[in-house]
């Protein structure tokens, strides 16, 4: 059994900012984000990749941060729930979750928002079936999913409308 393993220096990018941290080889990225970097929006629901509450985007792909080691973040670009809103305000996916009452207790919400953002960026216009398939790794026990799916569909509409607007403006 090992204790006090030597820590490793990691340089990475989190929500657009360059970040450095020290971590033990056994620390998961989830532990580093929450305990070392203070990004507690990322939640631990199971710590074995089955609930999706700890979902973050690494290099454009949604992943369970409990299944990634902190050292694997070296050189990566990481997005967390804390990076979805910016100085202009909430992202449409966040607005749609609020307007559509797509959360109850809220513990799964960060994971859903991150997964949904990744989905909508990759597959705009996704069908209900695609949304349900792609987000089946995120568990919610409160809502029955109905309002979450509808919020994602509404955000998709708003995002494609704003893309169309910007094209028109060009």
């Amino acid at each position: 059994m090992t204790t006090a393993t030597k820590k490793i220096h990691v340089t990475t990018t989190v929500n657009g900012e360059s970040v450095e941290f020290l971590c033990e080889p056994r620390n998961s990225l989830l532990e580093v984000l929450r305990d070392t970097l203070g990004l507690t929006g990322c939640k631990e629901g199971c710590n074995n990749g089955n609930c999706g509450a700890c979902t973050v985007i690494i290099n454009k792909r949604p992943v369970n941060s409990c299944l990634v080691l902190g050292v694997e973040a070296e050189g990566a670009e990481i997005e967390t729930v804390e990076g979805i809103a910016d100085a202009r305000g909430l992202h449409p996916i966040q607005d749609c979750f609020l307007e559509g009452a797509a959360l109850q207790c809220g513990i799964c919400t960060p994971g859903f928002l991150v997964s949904a953002k990744a989905l909508l960026e990759k597959k705009p216009g996704a069908s209900e079936e695609t949304i349900r398939f792609d987000l089946s790794g995120n568990l919610c026990r409160c809502t029955g999913y109905d309002k979450i799916v509808r919020a994602i569909q509404e955000a998709d509409k708003q995002l494609s409308a704003s893309t169309d607007d910007s094209k028109t403006n060009d």
Partner: protein, 749 residues
Amino acid sequence: MATTPYRVIGTRPVRHDGADKVTGKAVYTADFKLPGLQAGFILRSPHPHAKILSIDTSAAEATAGVSAVVTGADFPNVKNKIAHLGEGSVNLAHLSANCMAKDKVLYKGHAVAAVSATNAHIAEEAAAKIIVEYEMLPSVTDIIEAMATDAPLLHADLFTDDLGLKADTASNVAVHLHFEKGDVATGFEQADVVVEAEFKTATVHQGYIEPHAIVADYNEDGRVRLWTSTQGSFTCRQQTAEILQIGVGDVLVTPCEIGGGFGGKIAVYLEPTAAILSKKSGRPVSIRMPRTDVFEATGPTPASFMRVKVGAKNDGTLLAGEAWIAYDAGAFPSGVIGPGCMCVFSCYDIEHAVVDGYDVCVNKPHTKAYRAPGATQVAFAMEQLMDELAEQLNICPLEIRMKNAVKEGSRRVDGPVYPQIGFVECLEALRDSDHWNSPLEGDNRGRGIAGGFWFGCGLKSSAACSVNADGTINLLEGSTDIGGSRASLAMQLAETLGIESSDINPMVGDTDSVGYTDVTGGSRVTFATGLAAYEAGRDLQSQMKVRAAELWECETSEVSIGDDGTFSGNGKTAGFKDLASQLFSGGAALVGRATVAPECPTNGFGAHIVDVEVDPDTGKVTILRYTVIQDAGKAIHPSYVEGQLQGGAVQGIGWALNEEYFFNDDDQMTNASFLDYRMPTMLDVPMIDTIIVETGNADHPYGVRGVGEPPIIPPPPAIGNAIYNATQTRMRELPMSPPKVWLAMQSSD
């Protein structure tokens, strides 16, 4: 569109805590830190039943980074004493023994020791060095086997409470309950048709996504401060104080945001242990429960064995009902059996009925409430028997339910006579729904319906509203917000005062700052704490009348308040915010307050329709379409009412189709993960349609009934009925998972 007398109630504003929860800023217990915080880890029994002969903690204590080690010897001796926790009660000696075993472990996962250290890894590694010497005892997890006189005994001092009398030999049966009305023998003699069957349901877990967590600080002044995930901060305070044998005033509970509970976050598990670790280490201590421990060591809800018999006349009128129900209590007496007995016949007016219920201890985790605790199991039996009666009598399943549905004046088997209720209205809404009137076509497809009832309770709630300089309001209340209750309470206060929901800042107070408030449970918060918010608003208005009279130089009796909250007197008028602002600058601050304790149940009824398709090759059941109909009394925030109906229905679908605890031959749970304990994912369910029926409720100023619990009840029997409709196979066991459905289909061929 129907006209409404309300400006705020019935609208859908964004919830007050919304921005925090979509940006990751909301603070849940695991997010909360204190300087010098230690991490705790709990060592648990690998055995389902064993005596603890010795515990050697020396190697753990000697580990670098370890700050404290705790075992059962560090826990004060707690005498047998029943504590009422709002909804339900508990024997404190059992509660303490469940937090930390002293002499015996009663289930795999039972806590035996705990360690705190500089981080969780060190604590876990040190815990692994603790040597526990066990003497293995025979174990039992099956309810019927545990009831046998020669079964392994969990508690040498447990004597069956048989209708109030104590038995003289020890038994695993904690309680025998009996309810009776009419003359059941005569009822069955007069019946033209009788159906009878045995049903079984598996142990299921509430499955909240946030594991239990605690931060405890045993302060130098002797006060214990707890930051925790709880459905009731005051009951958490009481339980912790009793287990630690200190005064309730010596415990401060600050409820953090709570990531789901469904009845499973009322009892304490970690709080006393973390407090003792903190006392021994002199540091604040946090414990985050691993998911495996959540499954193995926190309250699932009872498995059941039921034999139910119902008789009816040829015209479909129910005459007699008889139910024999045994629920698994887990390691300690549970109490979920009571509501199970009261709910089995609660939807129908039956002249003659008898119910016997048994609370049976087995070597499984101590079972707890789960959304309408005890009602779903019995509905699985009764609502399928209703369909079997309907089939034998060649009556439509809806018609037999409408014919026998309870209404105002119907008496339940356990005694109470219903006041105005809305079950008939729910069945009428079902009859008129698009879903019921749409044909279902295709092979292996079937439709089922079922009803459900849950009491809903009042209990104690407190609220205070203080006026800000601009006439906006801070609402302080004591109900931990598990699914949007800040919004539903603020909306009721806004309606009362004639302001907007956004003019109110609702805040859930800690146990030092807000008046006593019972648990967030029993579908009670929007009803009872809503009543407290309303009364606090009325109190504020009365004070403002007096002050307005001084301001306007008239008698208090000359000041009146309009329906829109506008104050008038002596020829002057002012809206609430305007007047509140004037009064703020012209005198003492204004605070309205109220405490309430409504005793009346809110009587929630619902009815569900489901269409399924059964794969004949695999037995897999796919939900094609689902509609929930429920009487909300009055929906304060319709979106969150719909959310309760949808979420409850999907939990019920999981209970119906997949969820169960598996035990191996050594009585150890073998599927303690979200991968193997299979809760519904987004891909497993369709959109869930909702129809909110609003029949009002005379016991609440805005007609609110509780809505949270009833929607979990009808899914298992509705799906069972749909499977029968699709396959002519009657399912008598939950879950109706593919292997079980497939096997049942083979034997019914």
